[in-house]
């Protein structure tokens, strides 16, 4: 347990926690300062505004998010292994950071000001060669014909939504946290089976 963080870092960590939990609109600079155990003015001394601090946190979340995804694609594996492992890893990542997709989507929805490095993001994914691997598999007839947008939608839907909608589904089905976690683990299997079966049909 190293409390050897600089003031600046402590504030940023606190901001991460608070912003992820409550969103930009749902918290105040004072709340972030308190969470960091610091004076409010320090927030403005190190980061010039609430928005600027937010941008930093947002970008960091986005990067964690993308990094977790790209890792698998860079490996030297067959396409179907990559997708299988991707789902596995995504479920793992999201059970540790379930708030991230909702946070990102919500904040982007509420203002375009979330200046995402658009080009960089697609560059990151594209540079792994995953797209070419897809196209090739499609040409060989191993994989169903499906544009890359739909492919993204399909996989992300089934990985993100079960974590994002946890509070809704727990409420609807009256499930405890543990019960829901069990369902998530089961669901990972189903999703993998379904997606693999759909993308790579055995003739």
């Amino acid at each position: 347990m190293s409390t050897e963080l600089s003031t600046e870092e402590k504030i940023k960590e606190a901001a991460k926690r608070v912003f992820l939990a409550k969103g930009f609109d749902g918290c105040s600079s004072r709340e972030i300062a308190k969470e960091a155990g610091m004076n409010v003015a320090l927030v403005y001394y190190y980061f010039r505004s609430k928005s600027q601090l937010f941008q930093l946190v947002f970008q960091a979340a986005m990067e964690d998010f993308m990094t977790a995804m790209v890792e698998v694609f860079s490996a030297d594996l067959s396409l179907d292994s990559k997708i299988r492992i991707f789902i596995e890893r995504e479920f793992d990542f999201l059970s540790k950071h379930p708030e991230i997709p909702g946070f990102i989507i919500n904040e982007i929805t509420r203002k375009e000001s979330c200046a995402v490095d658009k080009i960089d993001m697609m560059e990151m994914v594209a540079s792994t060669g995953i797209f070419q691997q897809c196209l090739e598999a499609q040409r060989k007839g191993e994989m169903i014909k499906l544009d890359l947008v739909s492919l993204t939608m399909l996989i992300l839907s089934n990985c993100h939504y079960p974590h994002m909608a946890r509070p809704l589904l727990q409420e609807i089905h009256q499930l405890s946290d543990e019960k829901y976690n069990q369902h998530l683990m089961l669901h990972k299997q189903y999703v993998t089976e379904m997606i693999m079966g759909y993308l790579f049909p055995k003739k």
Copy 2:
């Protein structure tokens, strides 16, 4: 174009628009009053607080949301037709009200105070007999064995997420609104095909 709404209704309609667009934390009573073309005090005259007005709007959104889902289940159709039509309707509903699932999930996440009528919600669905229809189809071996929670997750994931994640996916893939709409319509087909294929495998 009937402007024949009572003051109370005008405020509620304005609140719906504003809350859905910006969330509870993202707007003020004055903003709602302004949107309705009314004095702020009227918001408090008709609804005793911002929270109370919000609860009303939230409940209404939840009801629209559930009603759209239950309708299909009540019809006199085979299970696979019901699911097929459900997906169709859900995509239609969400292309008209894309903010609803994100709104509901987000607000439930940020406070349990969203006193959802839990029992009512499941009652609504259960009373259509859809669950029995599922269990029967499973016993007959027509449908894959899958608990109802996973079934819900599976279908909602693929219907809700593409609409919720629109701003993220448009950003990532650099798509115009129209282009994205086209992708959505295509995606509906893919999702239907995939889910039907998975749930009702042809032996």
